[in-house]
């Protein structure tokens, strides 16, 4: 690679990869060898090498979710050596580089493990539960047109910054995969906090939190027991503070709710 580490030596690695042909099929770990992996490759580029190799051999390549490879689309979702997105803190799988591994390493690659994220094939999972939670209330109900001038809603900079921090959630599901309860509290709290902090979200703040939490329960995500592994493994640093905000919003809403259902 240009400039950064001219002495980097190619690596040979053993991969233990979860293979499962279809949602209902029995899955298993299959061992593969990959050779001459440059430390400057991203983790997904290493998997590209494996897949090209498999395809040439006439074997089925490993299915995995990915797209932007810039750490922002939230598609990639690998559980690497027992950790969401692998060993590097604050990093998605696509931004994890092979320089974090050593020649001769064995790497175990699994899909997100959570009942609410059924497996499509191999390492690809179905995260549509997240979409349904957003559909339950993760918005401000404004139609296109008729919005007041942007500067008519002044927002203190520190509040705007905090809302932004919560809004940077990429919806990858690492928090669920990292949680022993497979709880989606960090994901839900990020959206609830963003909109609860902002004046635009104030009108619907009670119904929003009630409906989103209800949908989270319907989807079968586990309860939160405040372990904090979600925030520790979040690739974009969504703070545990958001869960505290969610709990406060939820209790306030329930205590004063008109929603008797």
């Amino acid at each position: 690679m240009a400039g950064s580490n001219p002495n980097a030596k190619p690596m040979n690695l053993t991969l233990n990869v979860w293979r499962q042909p279809s949602p209902k099929a029995q899955g298993k770990i299959v061992e593969y060898q990959v050779k001459d992996i440059s430390p400057e490759m991203s983790f997904l580029e290493m998997l590209d090498v494996l897949n090209e190799d498999l395809l040439h051999k006439g074997e089925d390549p490993v299915a995995f979710d990915h797209d932007c490879r810039e750490g922002i689309c939230g598609s990639c979702d690998l559980f690497i050596n027992g950790r969401s997105h692998g060993p590097e803190k604050g990093t998605t799988t696509c931004q994890l580089h092979m320089r974090k591994f050593s020649d001769g390493d064995t790497i175990t690659i699994e899909p997100w493990r959570a009942n609410s994220f059924p497996i499509n094939k191999d390492l690809s999972v179905d995260r549509s539960a997240f979409d349904r939670i957003i559909q339950a209330g993760g918005y401000v109900s404004v139609n296109t047109g008729g919005a007041p001038d942007g500067n008519e809603i002044p927002i203190p900079k520190d509040i705007a910054d905090r809302a932004f921090e919560a809004a940077t959630c990429i919806g990858c599901g690492a928090c669920v995969a990292a949680c022993k309860n497979a709880s989606a509290m960090l994901f839900v709290s990020a959206k609830v906090s963003q909109l609860a902090l902002l004046p635009q979200g104030d009108v619907e703040r009670k119904t929003r939190v009630e409906n989103m939490v209800a949908q989270m329960d319907i989807e079968g995500f586990g309860a939160c027991t405040n372990i904090g592994s979600c925030a520790a493994e979040c690739p974009v640093g969504i703070s545990l503070e958001n869960i505290a905000i969610l709990n406060r919003e939820f209790l306030t809403a329930k205590a004063t709710s008109n929603n008797l259902a």
């Binding site: 580029e45 006439g58 939230g74 598609s75 007041p148």
Partner: protein
């Protein structure tokens, strides 16, 4: 065929208002009787789908992703332009219009661009109302920054993640309509053909990416918002799935493809590091506000630097050539993208490039860090600096970034008239997949503006005009055109799987990318293009004889998906070359070596080439026919662009 742009009559500033009054309206009670298909859920698609559903239409939204939120709009970093003039620095709708026309090197349609500048102000209001957390000043008002190609601060931003925040805003509006049942969401569904029945767009054929099921969907109108085709170059800043297939299939069903050779090479990307590389990463143009671009003053110094004999810090001020500041004192590091890219290439061609490959220039933040602080710089660009360090293992707070141009955006796309309707009645194109607003070069922070303008504020009006003239009868897929299109898709998929050759889709894609980058990239020549055309035709033959796939259609088969996209990219590549050969001038992102000023700047030929080249598909393996839309400039004077 005469291409009618349908630009409304009257003074520029009144065209859109007049047009909105003239278009037909659909009775509110009838809106629920119309079905509209929207393909793609990026900024343009999500905004259009949500807005149409809010109006009362039944919308079917399609994405090949697992969720609408993953569309590549999410990766846009720098910002979105709007003519708010909040900074009191002389901005106006006319100035944004003028900058966009000029920045596009006078190859865009005046009426469309003016409308874009007009609605830009409403976009910001709409996004703020949705809860998009734009950057703010301490007084609580919206913050702005300047951006390449502009001398006013009109860019709104959310740190280096503006695209993400805007897309999540549009996604939230879309999700709300899904909850109301007004939008039916079809995820992991890839459009593989357009259905044209009785001369009108009648629906689409999709493949369910999980099961392989080929499905027909009917509607009264179809909107394509399927993004750009930058991945024809293999390496680009586009996401891995970005492709031309939906637009290309529509093209083959009668939609003209306009200005395909107008591709944008972005000056500030992380340089290529090895053959295995799957994509390139953009470093936002906003970095050029504070970073200074330079190379060593001499070839000798550059060579010693590349060999590691000297270090960056050994180079004194006198040893550095801040070439953009030197050549373009008025705009300096903020020259438009095409100019910045060409100059970086020129420096590397002169042997003054840096990094082990010599294909990079420096983007240096030492001055701004000294003038303010590392913390202040981190406030503005923190996430970009982190991303750079993750990829390169170098700390840009201490060492200058190494950057090199990479394919980023495609100005060309489906030809559309003022209503964003293609040459197929009932088929609309919005966002990057149409050609309409950026001419031969797009200015920074204008892609997000155009995507949202089309989706929130243009399509909802113009599509109503078409629907109002269409009977509100229920649609179905019984027309023989559906069965025919579905069968063609099935046969094509079966054909791809049956070749059983030796080369993978990725191998073909890499060869294609190499041809395109070498001969149809930053500099083009008649000789090179002619050579490339023969190479691509050869590649196409090889593809259909030697493709290797495994597995079946009836499963998640990512190599099969890729193969179909590469097949379409190969055909598009040939058309791009035809278009580049036809255009005997240099303008914006299209630089023909034969046509340059003595100083090496692009030399336009307004007399002969002030037209939109709209290509018409004439049948498999037939040359396409060129149709011209002559551009009329009534409100700006055509001048050679100068940023000196």
């Amino acid at each position: 065929m005469f291409l009618d742009s349908k630009s409304p009559e009257g003074p520029l500033a009144e065209k859109w208002d007049q047009h909105k009054f003239n278009v037909k309206l659909v009775n509110p009670a009838n809106k629920r009787k119309y079905d509209v298909i929207v393909v793609g859920t990026g900024l343009a698609g999500a905004a259009a789908a949500a807005s149409l559903a809010e109006l009362g239409y039944n919308v079917h939204a399609f994405t090949y992703h697992d969720s609408p939120r993953r569309a590549h709009s999410i990766a846009a970093q720098g910002g979105i332009n709007a003519a708010k003039n909040y900074q009191n620095d002389g901005d106006s709708v006319f100035r944004l219009f003028y900058d966009t026309i000029k920045g596009g090197d006078y190859r865009a349609r005046e009426a469309n661009v003016y409308r874009l500048a007009q609605v830009s102000v409403s976009i910001i209001d709409q996004c703020v109302a949705q809860g998009v957390p734009f950057a703010r000043e301490y007084g609580g008002l919206l913050a702005n920054r300047s951006f390449g190609g502009a001398q006013v601060s009109r860019t709104f931003y959310a740190r280096g993640q503006t695209g993400q925040q805007l897309l999540l805003g549009a996604y939230s509006a879309l999700s709300r309509q899904v909850a109301y049942g007004k939008v039916k969401l079809h995820t992991r569904s890839e459009m593989l053909d357009l259905v044209v029945a009785d001369g009108k767009a009648a629906g689409i054929v999709t493949r369910n990416l999980l099961t392989g099921a080929i499905e027909n969907h009917a509607a009264h109108a179809v909107v394509l918002a399927t993004g750009g085709y930058g991945n024809v170059f293999y390496l680009s800043t586009n996401a891995m799935y970005c492709n031309v297939t939906a637009a290309w299939r529509a093209h083959k069903k009668g939609a003209y493809f306009a200005n395909p050779c107008f591709t944008q090479i972005h000056p500030t990307c992380i340089p290529v590091s090895g053959d295995y590389q799957s994509k390139l990463t953009l470093m936002s143009e906003s970095l050029r506000n504070d970073g200074r671009v330079w190379v060593p003053k001499t070839k000798e110094l550059a060579e010693r630097l590349r060999k590691g004999e000297i270090k960056v810090k050994d180079l004194k001020e006198d040893d550095r050539d801040y070439f953009l500041e030197r050549k373009y004192p008025a705009f300096g590091n903020l020259v438009p993208r095409d100019v910045a890219s060409r100059n970086a290439k020129q420096m590397c061609d002169e042997g003054r490039g840096v990094g082990s490959t010599g294909l990079a220039v420096y983007l240096d933040f030492a001055d701004i860090i000294q003038r303010t602080s590392a913390e202040a710089v981190s406030q503005k660009y923190g996430n970009l600096f982190e991303m750079y360090e993750k990829i390169t293992d170098e700390n840009p707070y201490e060492l200058p970034m190494r950057i090199y141009p990479a394919v980023h955006y495609t100005m060309g796309g489906l030809w559309v008239d003022y209503n964003l309707q293609t040459t197929v009645p009932g088929l609309y194109a919005a966002g990057e997949c149409n050609f309409s607003d950026h001419g031969a070069n797009r200015l920074g922070a204008s892609a997000l503006m155009q995507g949202l303008a089309d989706g929130y504020f243009v399509i909802p009006y113009t599509i109503g005009d078409y629907l109002a003239k269409t009977a509100p009868k229920p649609v179905n897929t019984e027309h023989p055109a559906f069965a025919e299109a579905g069968k063609a898709v099935q046969e094509r998929t079966a054909k791809l799987l049956s070749i059983k050759g030796n080369r993978t889709p990725d191998q073909f894609h890499k060869v294609l990318g190499h041809i395109m980058w070498e001969y149809c990239g930053m500099a083009r020549s008649a000789e090179g293009l002619t050579h490339a055309k023969a190479e691509i035709q050869k590649l196409k033959r090889e593809f259909w004889q030697d493709l290797k796939l495994t597995g079946t259609n009836e499963e998640l088969n990512q190599a099969l998906e890729k193969a179909g996209r590469v097949a379409d990219f190969i055909e598009l590549g040939e058309l791009m070359i035809d278009d580049a050969l036809d255009r005997n001038e240099s303008c914006g992102g299209h630089f023909r070596e034969e046509y340059q000023t003595p100083e090496g700047e692009a030399l336009r030929d307004d007399e002969n080439y002030a037209y939109v080249a709209a290509w018409e598909f004439m049948g498999e393996n037939q040359p396409e026919r060129l149709n011209k839309e002559e551009l009329q400039f009534e409100n700006v004077k055509l001048t050679q662009r100068s940023y000196k």
